[in-house]
Symmetry: C2
Subunit: 276 residues, 2 copies
């Protein structure tokens, strides 16, 4: 069987790589992308079949730009996966912690290691497009004095040594990833028990409450809600909402009601709940 | 009159400085902090009277870590201010765009100039704790080949030249800032028409809808809602909600109901709506 081409943000050894392996198992070929926009392009251009995209974590909340990428490019969410993220500071073998003058990683990883880095003022923090990429660069170019904050998988793949492990500020940092593709043919109705939606409402008192009442009446459980002011349109809000349900028919009923009650109603994806 | 000490994230010339000037007018002394945690510390230690903190923008959504800083340190939101953010690439006078090999700025500014930077692969992007700080550093150390993405005010203050102006991806990028202090004595009841709250609900169907119905019944207008999974407690969600109202009595009624209906109900601030 031909390996499935899966686009990830970053390179092998990154958290996106870990998620791709855990979700798809063996037999995948990674399409490495250095930005989320690049990942979307690789799907639209047919260079990859499916993509893995971080969408929210317990520390920083939703990655709104990624929601917008999904929405604006007509992608479909066909799955989700949770990963407990662990960050480690790694460098060339033989380097000591006090040798490290520059620490490179993805901005989100740097943010999540804020407390650790705060206590190391001698280290200059440099942002990269990925966690694993600076680790690979350190190994390839034999860079001394430089450390990368990356998953343990990167140290293993590129032969680096972990100088400080588990340096994330909050230990229970579950990051939610979504699996996206350009078409929505993935699951039979009875396999679907979660959905992601986007809609707009007017700034009228109680308009969101009315929408949530309908969802509740249709037996949908809200697992996420996020409002976002609509750029250029004062008093208009867009909402990103995730719901779980027991029967697809419940969601179907809610869909037809919400399509009437809200503006620009869009189902971003219908998939299997990964968190039971 | 003694100037009021106002803590900002970053240094003079930053967007936080602009907000402090616009909100407080003349007669303030800036307490420059290189992180939001440092800003909170300066308030708790009495080094500053009030602080200015970015809290959300139309592109990245809420800055959840700052909500948590307010909540966990018992700060009070006593005001809000909106700033349309403009980003400019600046460098030493005489430098040309093609001389610039490194671009430094705050991660949020770098994110907001993503499209521009994507077209300049020759520029290495380096993250700093502030927008204005790298601009000052370029001027002080006469750094060639280095550019900073910062407000026009920084170019003016530090004598730099703007090489590319208005390089933000989305032009109408209103950022919302909050004004915080350690005590909640600021406004008489009849001046207050907006409030920020945080509460927890159980993952029971319709529990949020019920809460929103109460708010609507009390004539509160929802201007923002954001759910966040509670770390370490599966199926528990915290919500950050902002509401506006016409009479304080309406909010007072809602408060007493929500305190009973939700868990860990907290009013993060009661203040004047800055957006009419």
């Amino acid at each position: 069987m031909k390996p499935r081409k899966i686009a990830i943000q970053g390179i092998e050894g990154s958290n996106h790589h870990k998620v791709a392996s855990e979700y798809f198992g063996q037999g995948i070929e990674l399409v490495e992308c250095m930005s989320f926009t690049g990942l979307v392009d690789s799907l639209l251009e047919g260079k990859a079949e499916k993509g893995v995209m971080a969408i929210e974590n317990s520390i920083a909340g939703s990655i709104i730009p990624n929601y917008n990428l999904v929405c604006d490019n007509g992608l479909h969410i066909i799955g989700e996966h949770y990963l407990n993220v662990h960050h480690h500071l790694m460098a060339l073998p033989g380097q000591r912690l006090e040798d490290i003058r520059v620490v490179r990683s993805h901005p989100m990883a740097l943010l999540q290691c804020g407390d650790y880095l705060k206590e190391k003022p001698q280290m200059t923090v440099v942002e990269d497009a990925d966690t694993a990429e600076p680790a690979r660069k350190i190994a390839r170019e034999q860079l001394k004095g430089v450390g990368a904050i990356a998953p343990a998988l990167a140290a293993e793949l590129f032969g680096l040594e972990i100088l400080a492990s588990e340096i994330q500020t909050i230990n229970n940092n579950a990051t939610r990833f979504i699996i996206v593709k350009t078409v929505n043919k993935e699951w039979p109705r009875d396999a679907i028990n979660k959905a992601s939606m986007r809609f707009l409402t007017d700034h009228k008192r109680g308009s969101l409450a009315t929408v949530l009442n309908v969802m509740s009446d249709c037996n949908l459980n809200l697992t996420k809600i996020q409002s976002l002011p609509v750029i250029d349109t004062p008093w208009k809000y867009s909402f990103f909402v995730d719901v779980t349900f027991e029967a697809y028919a419940q969601f179907e009923k809610a869909k037809s009601l919400l399509a009437i009650m809200t503006e620009d109603f869009r189902v971003l994806g219908e998939y299997k709940n990964a968190r039971i």
